[in-house]
Amino acid sequence: MLWGRSSDKKQAAPVASEGPSFEDQLPTLREFLREYNRIAEVCFNDCVNDFTGRTTTTSEISCVNNCLEKFLKVTQR
């Protein structure tokens, strides 16, 4: 998903810099959003364990940020 786009398979139309249509981008967008949900689930499960309060603590926030960065680096590697 991150190393190629479905629009690459088609030759670019002679229209100047129109880019892929919205419909062409939908499957990629769907996958991106699914990954987003998955990242949220994984990072929540790993980082948030304390339910004594309603707001996320600063340590949980920094854990989530790091989790997100690592997740992306894993996919890039």
Binding site: F22, L29, E41, F44, F51, R54, T55
Partner: protein, 99 residues
């Protein structure tokens, strides 16, 4: 890419958003059930502690979800400056908060 979507595209975007919300709901309920409900089923009613835990769990899950969404949107915009004009009109439309 044009900033405006026709009605078919809007409908497709709306359906996608609903699908993602269902996915979010499913993951959230699974996560909060695992974190809050003790697997000793002596009683069918939720205890007060479990109910409070679930409330807090949902609040935190949505907060985490929003933060990640904002972070991802920022990173995506940094990588594709052509999208920045869209952001002014429609900040994080599909990855945005569901409040």
């Amino acid at each position: 890419m044009s900033n405006e979507l026709n009605s078919n595209q809007l409908q497709a975007a709306g359906e996608l958003e609903i699908e993602m919300m269902q996915d979010l709901y499913k993951r959230m309920t699974t996560a909060c059930h695992k974190k809050c409900v003790i697997p000793r089923y002596k009683d069918s009613e939720l205890t007060k502690g479990e109910s409070v835990c679930i409330d807090r769990c949902v609040a935190k899950y949505m907060d985490v979800h929003d933060r990640i969404g904002k972070h991802l949107t920022t990173m995506t915009l940094q990588q594709q400056p052509s999208l920045q004009t869209q952001q002014a009109n429609d900040p994080s439309r599909v990855v945005g908060s569901y409040k």
